[in-house]
Assembly symmetry: C2
Homo-oligomer: 235 residues x 2
Amino acid sequence: MTLDTKRAVILLSGGLDSSTTLAIATRQDGYACTALSFRYGQRHTVELERAALIAQQFGADHRVIDINLGSFGGSALTDETVAVPTHGTDEGVIPPTYVPGRNTVFIAVGLSLAEVIGAERVYLGINAVDYSGYPDCRPDYLEAYQRLADLATKAGLEGRGPRLWAPLATMTKTDIVRTALDLGVPIELTWSCYQGLEEPCGVCDSCRIRDRALIEAGAPDLATRHAQRQQAQVR
Amino acid sequence: MTLDTKRAVILLSGGLDSSTTLAIATRQDGYACTALSFRYGQRHTVELERAALIAQQFGADHRVIDINLGSFGGSALTDETVAVPTHGTDEGVIPPTYVPGRNTVFIAVGLSLAEVIGAERVYLGINAVDYSGYPDCRPDYLEAYQRLADLATKAGLEGRGPRLWAPLATMTKTDIVRTALDLGVPIELTWSCYQGLEEPCGVCDSCRIRDRALIEAGAPDLATRHAQRQQAQVR
């Protein structure tokens, strides 16, 4: 790594979106990336194992930060007394898988690391499908965060603060899958399922949205077994 | 605790400022408080022990969150290769005790907890003496954070999001000491020293600012031994 290497931080959950974002950051934008994952009290940690494998594939450093937001309760992703929804999310309704302020915390840690390692960008896998339901995935949220970041840090005040970068922000899930296929993302390694079973459940909202996109993008063989069975029944 | 108890979250480091803020929140503003402290890789944890004692004195719940920002390096407060300054801080210069993005992370966690427990306010011990040097202690930083918070959370979007509350923001250190004395803060239990020695060093910037304020407020007996010896020499 030379002195003029462009560095970036990326928040990598191990899901399809953040893995595709890592592919864009490294293979398209030419950044040397430090991938940051969080052990925050989620029900399962299979996504962390996948994140490590995916970071390796893209030559990125990988760091896991422990922060037990799950101890607060209040979300289906961390609280086993709240059910994971499988019936789809209505327009404008915030789903129970929303972890209060999770993105705000994660981005703050990403900005801290970016300042320490001199990274130009903090890549985020936030996208349009998510922002119908999650308040902290919307463009005005990101703009407000950029403004805060510029005021918050030594680097920001000196005009060389990191930029929040969300290349998937306006893409559909099907476009994300197409980009992932183009850039050689190992989609079979990515984990988007809300549940921590042996294989993706195929019925939670995250699986359903991903399966539909994989089928639309012409990669039905990468969909969950559940989706493949359903496809076979339709024919 | 009745249903109409007003709840607040407070970020409690165990120092003079946050302890005084807790006194304001409970004894002046009438909130039932949950105090939040962080084990973030600081050189010493004496302040965490003091935070627990102080929370108890004010009948507040106390939670400690582990998040290893120290593993990033870059600050004299977490990195033993960077010296703690003892010579004062020049106007406009950011001191090496600044931990990149620390407040941004801590406030984000405070907001997350506030949403889960239905707290109206997140109290912060940020004050004027600090904001000459630390970028993330200034009023425009807090305003930007409030805007982000309102956009970031379920509660914020519904118009019932927590308010960031910094009652010390415009107070001098001497006024803070006077308020602490008025409200019965156990100043002798609070810990402001940057170093983790047996007793406060009396020479780091934090000790020096605090000692001067204690002496000005007429409580020289609460100053460090170092300051008391210096006072004796002057006489």
